[in-house]
Amino acid sequence: MSSLNEKITKQIQATAKSMLDSGKVAAFLGYTKGTLPGTMQPFVARNAEEAQRLCWNSFCVLNLANYLPALLKSLEPPRKRGEPPPEGPLPRVGVLATGCWSRNMVVQIQENQIERDRVVIVGISSRGMVSRRKVEEFVGFQDITSIDEQENSLVVKGNGFEEVINRWDVIRDNCKTCIHPDPVIYDELIGGLSGDRKIPDRFRQVEEIESLTVDQRWEWFQKEISSCIRCYACRNACPLCYCPTCFVDDSRPQWVGKSIDEVDTSLFHILRAYHCAGRCTDCGSCESVCPMGIRMRLLTKKLQKDVFELYGFEPGLDLDTPLPLSTYKMDDPEDFIITDIKKGDQK
């Protein structure tokens, strides 16, 4: 284990322990080791003993903001429907937050999914998380028995092979193009801040697809999603997807069929991405959890680019700017709308 991760792990454990001991929080949401090499699982520590199981490394790919609304709700005393919440402050939760996770928490606060004074955010500046799929690809999908993370490399061992991989080579695509690695809101900080990064071509992947013809784009889209098995892991891992009934589960009207018909799959991916427009922080959870390796992040990245171009907005950077699709300006761009056709203007 790299000394940096070890240091951060110790600090997380100490912070969680002191918060839980002092009663400042009722639960601490972090990560513990997963069952397979190169996996980490979200973990809720509820006492000082459990806090010792918290851990940190480059495989913390899931967005912890996703678990916050349900966790906060589970800590409230049970009450009947329509009954007002009990008086006095409700139990709080401590949670780790990197740049994108904290931005998702900002979005959740803006959308009234969590309350700011019920979460104690422990910020960590992100160095970028590793894509397990890229590691597997690197070793040709052989079985991996252990992954040891060093400062800037990964030592991957399996049956009869040992590879040293440069860490940056297997970093997730979204982390490579991330310009806000630092938490936006936090109450405590572990390690230092690293400042915004400058990436001039962060939308390069999207621009490559935009430069294709419309037929080629359709071909790309169909090919990209063709392996989808409709497990909805991308939806479940997304901190923006908290609707009690998702549009895919609606049956009257049924917007999306339940089969793996290519039209149904296309509609699912279009609408799933579209629902994230102006809210997605490009945390990459959806892509990380996809068992088929679909790069559905390209869809949300495109929406992120458009929202940025049209309305100059990036989600989750501050609590006071309303989300772009829940507000308007009188002079919003409308060049795509047919407004006035004069005589002889018809092409």
Partner: protein
């Protein structure tokens, strides 16, 4: 859908028209006897802000060759700001559908007020012409297919 010869083929266009402006505009076009192609099937909605991406995609899935969404001009919405929220959503949706390979011109947006009967007829002709040039919709149309052997 019978594709036939391109000269015989008449596109099917679903038009979501807001109750207060565009629907009345379409009414006026009829009352004033402006000619426009019979390709438009109107769905009356309370406001263009009611039209969600689901509805537009559902129209395409069900076999529409084109979609038109029309509402009040900005500032004239009878719910004050419905069309302004809608404008942002449509702007993002329009670019997004183009990105994933839906031909530009399949999904159209317009503002038509209740007094613009002639304008409605022109929009209807323009949209029909756009869709006619693209030909029958093939993408996102859910057809009943036989099971692959």
């Amino acid at each position: 859908m019978d594709q036939g010869k391109s000269s015989e083929w008449e596109p099917k266009i679903i038009a979501f028209l807001c109750n207060w402006c565009s629907y009345a505009g379409a009414d006026l076009a009829g009352v004033s006897r402006y000619q426009y192609p019979p390709s438009i099937r109107i769905v009356r909605v309370p406001c263009s802000g009611r039209v969600s991406a689901n509805m537009i995609l559902d129209a395409l899935r069900s076999g529409a060759d084109g979609v038109l969404v029309s509402g009040c001009h900005p500032g004239d919405c009878h719910y004050i700001s419905g069309n302004l929220f809608a404008r942002r959503r449509f702007a993002v949706l329009e670019r997004f559908l183009e990105f994933i390979g839906i031909e530009p011109g399949r999904v159209n947006f317009s503002w038509v007020s209740a007094s613009e009967g002639e304008q409605f007829a022109k929009v209807a002709s323009e949209v029909t012409e756009r869709v006619r040039r693209l030909g029958p919709a093939k993408r996102l149309v859910k057809e009943i297919r036989s099971c692959p052997a």
